[in-house]
């Protein structure tokens, strides 16, 4: 994990404008309601006219990896993975730069028998939730989606 935890406090002002105040604390702090953060908000509110209304903390870990050079699909291309939660609500996840092997021979539909796809679906079904806590339970379908920007007016310049 990173050596620090980034904390962003959202502050409300009288004229309904929001300001932000960002600072770093030890990575031991993993809760937005940690006493160190709440103590800082107390001394912060004494020197500003605003009031804190929201706290966000970022717990980050960099990973060492390399993108596949010359890969067919890049970040703009997605494997569009559709899931459903326990109440039937849909949840979509777009895996960027999908491997060509992820798709069937039509280059469009995701091969659900592939081990990598099975592993992803299992991880999502086990751990991912809806924002309100609904369990993601069922993989529905996956297909390739292009998200490339259109050329302006179709003109070659």
């Amino acid at each position: 994990m990173a050596g620090t935890t980034r904390v962003t406090v959202e502050i409300l002002f009288l004229y309904t404008l929001h300001g932000k105040f960002t600072f770093f604390v030890s990575s031991d702090v993993v809760s937005p309601t940690d006493p160190i953060i709440l103590g800082y908000i107390t001394v912060l509110e004494a020197i500003t006219r605003g009031k804190a209304i929201h706290i966000e903390i970022s717990l980050s870990q960099a990973t060492i990896s390399s993108a596949t050079s010359g890969a067919t699909y890049i970040s703009e291309d997605k494997a569009f993975m559709r899931f459903r939660d326990e109440f039937g609500v849909g949840h979509n996840y777009k895996v960027p730069g999908p491997k060509t092997t992820v798709f069937l021979t039509n280059h469009e539909d995701v091969d659900t028998s592939l081990a990598a796809v099975i592993a992803f679906n299992a991880a999502v079904n086990t751990y991912a939730k809806g924002r309100g806590g609904n369990d993601i339970t069922t993989f529905i379908k996956g297909y390739r989606k292009e998200n490339r920007k259109m050329l302006k007016g179709g003109r070659a310049t």
């Binding site: 994990m1 620090t4 980034r6 502050i11 002002f13 009288l14 004229y15 404008l17 300001g19 105040f21 600072f23 770093f24 604390v25 030890s26 809760s31 937005p32 103590g39 800082y40 912060l44 004494a46 020197i47 500003t48 006219r49 605003g50 009031k51 804190a52 209304i53 929201h54 966000e56 903390i57 970022s58 717990l59 980050s60 870990q61 990973t63 990896s65 390399s66 993108a67 596949t68 050079s69 890969a71 067919t72 970040s75 703009e76 494997a79 777009k94 895996v95 960027p96 730069g97 491997k99 992820v102 990598a116 592993a119 992803f120 679906n121 991880a123 086990t126 751990y127 939730k129 924002r131």
Partner: protein, 159 residues
């Protein structure tokens, strides 16, 4: 009135392709998941990386808390977030860290209305707490205040 922890944590997976173009995936996890390198975060990250030719550059968990009651900000000459008090601290590694306080209370300013009044009790409490508990972005401890200056909103500079 209290801070309410949101029921879910946000998981962000940051990718980069071989051209350097970035992409981000967004998930929600139980709010007990606090380690981006373990548990559900690691499992989903490994699953997504297994399907992608992009490089997974970082895994980030965002946790949120919200104040559960109406708040009452007060009025003053600088009571807008575009007004900032830039307070610069020295760090043990020789770098500088600037705390940008939005909408400063005018009582913390010196007579020139620009510089910070380092003898003000609220400023002393803020500075002491910062030095004791807050770090630079690189994780270095902060050692003291270098300066504090009120920044004028950019659009007002040519009045």
């Amino acid at each position: 009135m209290a801070w309410e922890l949101e029921p879910m944590n946000e998981l962000l997976l940051h990718f980069s392709d071989y051209n350097g173009a970035r992409a981000t995936m967004n998930f929600w996890l139980e709010n007990t998941e606090t380690d981006p390198g373990a548990g559900g975060a690691a499992a989903i990250a490994a699953g997504a990386q297994g399907m992608s030719d992009d490089a997974l550059t970082s895994v980030e968990i965002l946790r949120h808390a919200t104040w559960d009651e109406e708040v009452t900000p007060t009025d003053g000459p600088y009571a807008r977030p575009s007004n900032k008090m830039n307070i610069t601290f020295r760090a043990t590694d020789g770098t500088k860290t600037t705390m940008q306080v939005p909408g400063p209370n005018e009582t913390i300013l010196a007579a020139d209305h620009i510089s910070i009044d380092l003898a003000d009790a609220a400023v002393i409490a803020f500075v002491d707490y910062t030095i004791e508990n807050i770090l630079s972005s690189e994780g270095a401890a902060l050692t003291g205040v270098q300066r504090g200056v009120r920044r004028i909103p950019p659009r007002l500079k040519k009045q």
